[in-house]
Amino acid sequence: MRNEQIQTILQLTIAITIGAVVGAIAMIVSGAPVITTYIQMWNGAFGNFYLFSSTLANATPILLIALGVGIAFRAGVFNLGGEGQMVLAAVTASLVAIYLPGPGFVKVLAAITTGFLVGGGLSMLAGWMESRFQIQLIISTLLLNYIVVLFASYLVSFPFQDRTGSAALSQTAMLDPAARLPKLFTGMTVHWGFVIALLLAVVLYVMLKHTSFGYDIMMSGKNASFAFYGGVSKTKMMLHSMLISGGLAGLAGVFEVLGSQYRFVDGSLTDPGYAWSGIMAALLAKSHPLAIVFASLFLGALHTGSLGLERNTDVPLEIANVIKATLILFITAKFSITWWQRRKKAGVSTSGTV
């Protein structure tokens, strides 16, 4: 086991190094100074406390979505619908937080609960279609994304559009200050959602490792027939894991609304590609909840780092994006493979979709 971990870390280091080298080549080609560029990227992500906090803020939705995707992977299903689940949850949660009468904490709690249930419900719908009608989850979740994102856009462009102020954007009204998630530090972007996400990662870790439910999930993922034979209900597993998976994606959206944007703005959750980043983080971390925390921070840092690069240097944003892409490209590559391993694996087919 020990050995395996060292192996993994070694692999990752080599992957990142190679990614960085290829990135450096891209910089040299485009005439950007390599060292400065990397320093600026680092600074952009961790240069000072504000930037670090902003990296954390950025990592929050990625982390939540990745935990969701990860748990689904563990159960053997590929939830590609994080985007839709996040958006639908965000829009309903913001409506609850705006229109539900009552004190602030009630609004917040109600919004979080609704968001979790809406995100989870949407993904359960896909799970149900798979277990009841054999409609492949991977397609249905992808399709539901489009439908739901359009629907959310409709809601905030028409019935629930904010008519105060310039009324130019498709967005809901602003949340009461009382109905917001507090920031961790004033003047910084990171909010309590991050802490909750961290706790959830730990909870999921413990759940997977120590509970019978977690055991059922893992075994369903490794061999569904075996789990079924052992008394694990296929449908229940599908629905429960999808509920959690979508619920977590939903929370990603809810926390963005309650903790950082204070309203639902059409496109603000889809444009940054949180959902794809979440999927990547889950894959990087091989769906291990604690490793997902680090993978999400890495991706969050990559994002804020490239923003910093854009702000502080003449290196164009496009190069920052190219470097980012290169690092991601190599991150799952396995460089430490010896010839022996390679030959042996050659007989085994690739891991399919997961």
């Binding site: 019978s212 061999n223 789990a227 034979y229 008394g231 030959r343 007989g347």
Partner: protein, 504 residues
């Protein structure tokens, strides 16, 4: 006769563990050479080395006197070595002919000439007296047919040496006989054959020479004329075999009852056709039949893995039809599945995790409700490992690193460990060595003597006859006959299995 293959001082290490230790093995032209040995002795490993799936740590290989080293099966195939895997490497969606010719397809101008493939396969099969329909899809083929396809494939590729790893484990007695004939025919036409098996009768029936492995080493090599089943058994297990324990007289009430059960896809011919059956407390009911005649469906219907269309399954008179798999297990059903890889284990999980299945909800192994206490569970697994001599490095070892027989033993131990009132034992000794078979048989009889009901499904007639109090025979989804322990002769069972009738 000259030496076709020589493996000299071959050693294979996994970490510190010697799977093969200085093994020397030779194969003559036109010889059938059997390799036997207990589970985990290193038989499969040795053959994987010969077939290029695994590379030896040290030692050398010679084919027709020339030194070789294989880094992939392709190279072994080029040297005329073919292997029939126990888990068939077939394409279920393709036809028989396509499966056989793939890699060497008859073609003109890049176009796949399927007609020619069919006729070539027909010819090839005919020349070795094997019957097979080349146009059938493989997913519709029986296990025996699939095995024939594998053999034909190897022959089609031009193999002169054929390795078969436990080919008979999944075959019916009739099919076994067919295979033996085929192997002999192949040998007379000059092919050399290596066969791994745990069944000494088969060894004596077809092999020219026998090599016995134990703990990764050769403990003996004999010509068939110079040895006996007993000697081989001793060489293998290192001790004499015991008798099956005595059966205590039992007169229990009906525990499990299957009434008029029909199973089948709508619009298709039912796979179970009004099947009725009872198992009493303290009784072992054996189900004999050529595989594919509804035994799997019957098991799955009882355990709740497939829904039934009509009829009733009851335990102690209460219907369990509406219960889930979990609830049925709660009620006291446990189940040794016929296919350990499909149902019995999760390959990528550890031995410990695989052992836990079914125990994860039991209070005794939970600290708080829903939280598993693995520390409390561990002694139980350790006990199983001892009891059935399961060869594993540690509980954390990934289970698919265990040899097939050892995996089987773990699955058997796990299901017996429930001490449930009703046990389905489907092919409980598939792939295990004779020593382990003895232990498993002993354990099953013990459960019976303690009053448990056991439904035994086996393609091994001797196993059915040794263990069962009553024998029912299935044919085409129906129960076509029932014989008491005393009246059941192999002959009578065989006739029923083939769809004939027996007059008592």
């Amino acid at each position: 006769m000259s030496e076709r293959i020589l493996m000299k001082n071959v050693t294979k290490k996994y970490g510190d563990f010697y799977a093969n230790n200085e093994i020397t093995f030779s194969l003559q032209d036109a010889e059938i050479h059997a390799i036997i040995g207990e589970n985990g002795a290193g038989k499969t490993t040795l053959m994987r080395i010969l077939y290029g799936l695994e590379e030896q740590t040290s030692g050398s290989l010679y084919v027709n006197g020339k030194p070789v080293r294989f880094s992939s099966p392709t190279e072994a195939i080029k040297r005329g070595i073919g292997m029939v895997h126990q888990h068939f490497m077939l394409f279920p969606h393709l036809t028989v002919a396509e499966n056989i010719v793939i890699g060497h397809e008859p073609s003109s101008a890049g176009l796949f000439n399927r007609k020619k493939a069919v006729s070539q396969v027909k010819e090839l099969a005919a020349s070795y007296k094997m019957t097979i329909d080349p146009t059938k899809k493989v997913k519709h083929c029986s296990v025996g047919e699939q095995q024939r396809i594998e053999i034909l494939k190897v022959l089609y590729q031009g193999a002169e040496t054929i390795i078969l790893d436990e080919p008979t484990a999944v075959l019916t007695p009739h099919e076994v006989k067919g295979l033996m004939d085929t192997l002999k025919l192949l040998a007379t036409s000059g092919k050399s054959i290596i066969i791994i098996t745990h069944k000494l009768k088969e060894v004596m029936a077809c092999a020219n020479r026998i090599t016995v492995l134990r703990n990764g080493e050769v403990t003996g090599s004999r010509h068939v004329d110079e040895t006996s089943e007993d000697e081989l058994a001793t060489l293998m297990v290192g001790r004499d075999l015991k008798e099956v324990p005595p059966r205590a007289a039992q007169n229990g009430a009906t525990h499990l009852e299957v009434k008029n059960v029909v199973v089948g896809e709508k619009g298709e011919k039912p796979t179970l056709h009004h099947v009725s059956l009872q198992v009493k407390q303290g009784e072992i009911v054996g189900i004999a039949g050529v595989s594919g005649n509804g035994q799997s469906e019957l098991i799955q219907a009882i355990t709740g893995l497939i829904p039934i269309e009509s009829g009733d399954v009851t335990m102690d008179g209460e219907s369990v039809n509406e219960l889930t798999v979990y609830e049925r297990r709660q009620k006291g059903i446990s189940h040794i599945p016929e296919d350990r890889y499909q149902w019995g284990i999760a390959k990528s999980a550890s031995v410990a995790e695989n052992a836990l299945m079914g125990y994860q909800y039991i209070d005794a192994y939970q600290s708080v409700r829903g939280v598993i206490n693995r520390r409390r569970f561990r002694p139980l697994v350790t006990k199983w490992i001892e009891q059935f001599a399961i060869k594993t490095n540690s509980l954390q070892q990934q289970i698919d690193q265990l040899s097939g027989g050892n995996i089987q033993k773990l699955v058997v131990a796990r299901e017996l460990g429930h001490e449930s009132s009703f046990l389905i034992a489907a092919e409980p000794t598939r792939g295990v060595d004779i020593g382990a078979m003895e232990r498993i048989h002993e354990a099953l009889i013990e459960r019976r003597n303690e009053g448990a009901s056991i439904l035994l499904v086996s393609s091994e007639l001797s196993e059915i006859r040794t263990l069962s109090d009553r024998i029912v025979v299935m044919f085409e989804g129906k129960i076509v006959g029932e014989l008491s322990r005393d009246e059941a002769t192999e002959e009578k069972i065989s006739i029923l299995m083939a769809g004939g009738t027996v007059h008592a």
